[in-house]
Amino acid sequence: MTPRSRSMFWRIFRQLLRASRGRLIVALIALSSGAAISSALLNINLDAEQKLTHEFRTLGANVVVAPPSSGSDAALADAAIMDRIVGPPAPQIIAAAPYLYVAANSGAQPVILAGTWFDQVAKMNSWWKVDGAWIASRDDRLHCLVGQAAARQFGLAPGSKIDLRAGERNVSLTVSGIITSGGAEDSQIVTSLDIAQNLAGLPGRVSLIQLSVSGTPPEIETFTSHLAAALPGLEVRPVRQLAAAEGSILARINGLILWTITLILVLTTLGVLASMAALAMERSRDVGLMKALGGSVERIMHLFLAEAAALGVVGGTIGFAIGIVLARWIGGRVFGVAISPRWPVFPATIALAVGVALTGALPLRLLGRVRPAEILRGE
């Protein structure tokens, strides 16, 4: 097109939009709403995975580092490896807790004592229920937590004192709280790592290290193999129990959201289609006329396609803006934390909106087949 024709194109285009503004606004409302919801859902989809993965990480360790076990005697590793694990910047590691297990006695009754770092355990094992007070510092030498079965056995409550003996060493501790974990800890006494190491006479040793590592299952696999290579002589195992469930649940949610977006886009196309059909009816005479004047189908269709594309871009932009607000609100309600806007959502929303607009403009495209004689005669 020559420059003069191009300006004529835009002249006709502007007048066309102005003349049909009523219908176009209805179409725009439909498109913007659909785009807003789709945009919000896309954002949520991208973010939910991260948020839910984070949720899963509070369900316990997903990687365990331990010396290769052989037989029933628990082998020990050097606590110094903790530095090698958490020393170099490892943003993937959310929590790392070493454990040392000691067979001890309280009076004549044997009991297992587990020494660890409470601050790390608090991050990893969110399901532990504490009746009493949690121990905050990993260096606390005075207090212990007692599993509910052990507490029942020894008749302990928060504030009670308990004496523990292992070999010739003994220690006296105050019970800070009773824990219900639904696991082995219910029959154990949990103290800081220092206390366990002193009681066992094994300074600087640990039985195993539990890690909570962030990332998707494949990323965790990669991390595990890298760590295994960096720690020869030790076993680095992923805890498979959670991974499968996590993977499949995330996949389902993903599927559900994507399907919903598809359905919503179909519905939006419907809404736009209705307006466009009405527009097409109104314009059929003008199209017939233009054809009679020698206007080619291509030229005429360019106008309508430009109109649909403009509708798509404007609707998509408005939709995206509303979508951010919507996503924030949903995120707040569901996760208690705002959804962070993901920038790929913007071009995706525009693309989808333009796609919907072009598809919904089908009635206008069908006008291309209009036979001028019929239209002009039909008046």
Partner: protein, 445 residues
């Protein structure tokens, strides 16, 4: 007379009416499908969570304090209590029996691996495998874990229930195959296999005190837990080795539960009868545990909190997310239908003008159009519901692998929704159109 005009007008211009009804149908189909799937999402995800394995642990009520490190119980064999295997069928008779997906009893026996032979007794040669005992002549002491893989339990009501660790620990991975129920077969933990060089097809003799059994290795198991360094065998084998027929020490149960809330955590003995009924008839972990304790004497049931809590928390989050997503879809459906309604009413301005010119009052015109829209909504709603059911089936299978249960209650709901949305959608343009002066419309402007 009114009805006649409505039906006459309804029959005219069938194509445009068909288009409106189609739009309504599509909108309502989406509404139906999303509602169906949403109502089912909770159940589906609960099933997904069963891949986390057991969420209930059953132990003898009178048990001594376990001495567990890394899943291995260091108590002497005769310390502690045992439970009768014969009672287990009763688990499938409790009120929530259909929510009991599976269970597996466990009996651990410390054993010596006395001898092992390679398959087919191949001659030794350079590079051939060596089945080694621990160095320096020590015997290999390990735990033999007796359990069920796929075991048929007789239920008191006469039916049979097949269950085992396939339900309670579905993430366990076996290279080879599981042992057959009650056979002299076993699985070797991956770590143990690595240390001893045992492979599938080898035989291993295990000894506990005076008793010994020779078991064929049918598979290598890796779980990431204590099983990696143990031998797994059918429960009967463990019972014979321990000299404790028909006993088990620990039971893992996998049950479909409803996330715990403040109601479920109340003390049942302090509930009013009405509250107690409501609690009993909801599949909370607390009520299912309670029902299990009623059926099986001498047991203590505890939630495996790691699984139960996690499930509860995530299900709640995901549940709310799914409902919000559903509402988004419903809103979009309503919008689409409303827009279509609005558009078609705007189309009919000339008709409205004509009717007014013929002397119809604004109210009559309004009623007439609303009646027509209602009729369209009815037709569209019915069609939409039918299509929606099919769409729900496709979605359910596509996302969850299983179709959602058909809930007939959705039918009236969808119809009402269609009517409301169609009416609301036409109200504004109708209001606008009925005020308009008919003359210019009739002139064709």
């Amino acid at each position: 007379m009114f009805l006649r005009i409505v039906s006459d007008s309804f029959m005219r211009k069938p194509r445009r009416k068909a288009l409106t009804a189609a739009a309504l149908a599509l909108g309502m189909a989406v509404a139906t499908a999303t509602l169906e799937v949403a109502l089912d999402v909770g159940d589906r995800l609960a099933h997904e969570f069963r891949s986390l394995g057991a969420n209930l642990l059953v132990t003898p009520a009178t048990d001594t304090l376990p001495l567990e490190i890394g899943g291995v119980d260091y108590r002497p064999v005769d310390a502690g209590a045992y439970l009768p295997e014969g009672d287990l069928g009763k688990l499938k008779t409790i009120f929530w029996r259909n929510n009991v997906i599976g269970f597996a009893p466990f009996l651990d026996v410390p054993v010596e691996i006395a001898a092992a032979s390679a398959r087919g007794n191949q001659a030794q040669g350079p590079g051939s495998r060596k089945i080694v005992r621990e160095t320096a002549g020590e015997t290999v002491r390990e735990t033999l874990i007796g359990t069920w893989y796929s075991h048929t339990v007789a239920v008191p009501d006469g039916s049979k229930f097949v269950t085992g660790v396939s339900s309670t620990d579905p993430w366990w991975h076996v290279d080879g195959r599981w042992f057959s129920d009650g056979a002299e077969e076993s699985l070797i933990g991956a770590g143990l296999a690595h240390r001893t060089g045992l492979r599938v097809g080898d035989t291993v003799t295990v000894r506990s005190g005076e008793r010994a059994h020779t078991l064929t290795v049918t598979g290598i198991i890796s779980t990431g837990g204590r099983e990696d360094n143990a031998i797994l065998a059918p429960l009967q084998v463990a019972q014979k080795l321990a000299g404790r027929p028909s006993s088990y020490r620990r039971l893992l149960v996998s049950a479909l539960t409803k996330p715990a809330d403040s109601f479920s955590e109340r003390d049942p003995t302090k509930m009013t009868p009405a509250d107690y009924d409501r609690w009993y008839c909801s599949p909370y972990i607390s009520s299912i545990s309670h029902q299990m304790q009623q059926e099986l004497p001498g047991i203590e049931v505890r939630a495996i909190r790691q699984v139960a809590e996690g499930e509860g928390r995530i299900l709640t989050r995901v549940g709310s997310l799914m409902w919000l997503v559903t509402f988004a879809a419903l809103f979009a459906a309503a919008l689409a239908v409303g827009a279509t309604s609005a558009t078609t009413v705007l189309e009919r301005r000339s008709e409205i003008g004509l009717m007014k010119a013929l002397g119809a009052s604004r109210r009559a015109v309004g009623l007439f159009f609303l009646a027509e829209q209602l009729l369209l909504a009815l037709v569209g709603g019915i069609a939409g519901y039918a299509i929606g059911l099919e769409l729900a089936r496709v979605l359910g299978i596509g996302i969850f692998g299983i179709a959602p249960t058909v809930r007939l209650v959705l039918f009236p709901i969808v119809l009402v929704l269609a009517a409301v949305v169609a009416l609301l959608g036409s109200l504004v343009p109708l209001e606008h159109a009925s005020r308009v002066d008919p003359a210019p419309i009739l002139r064709g402007e």
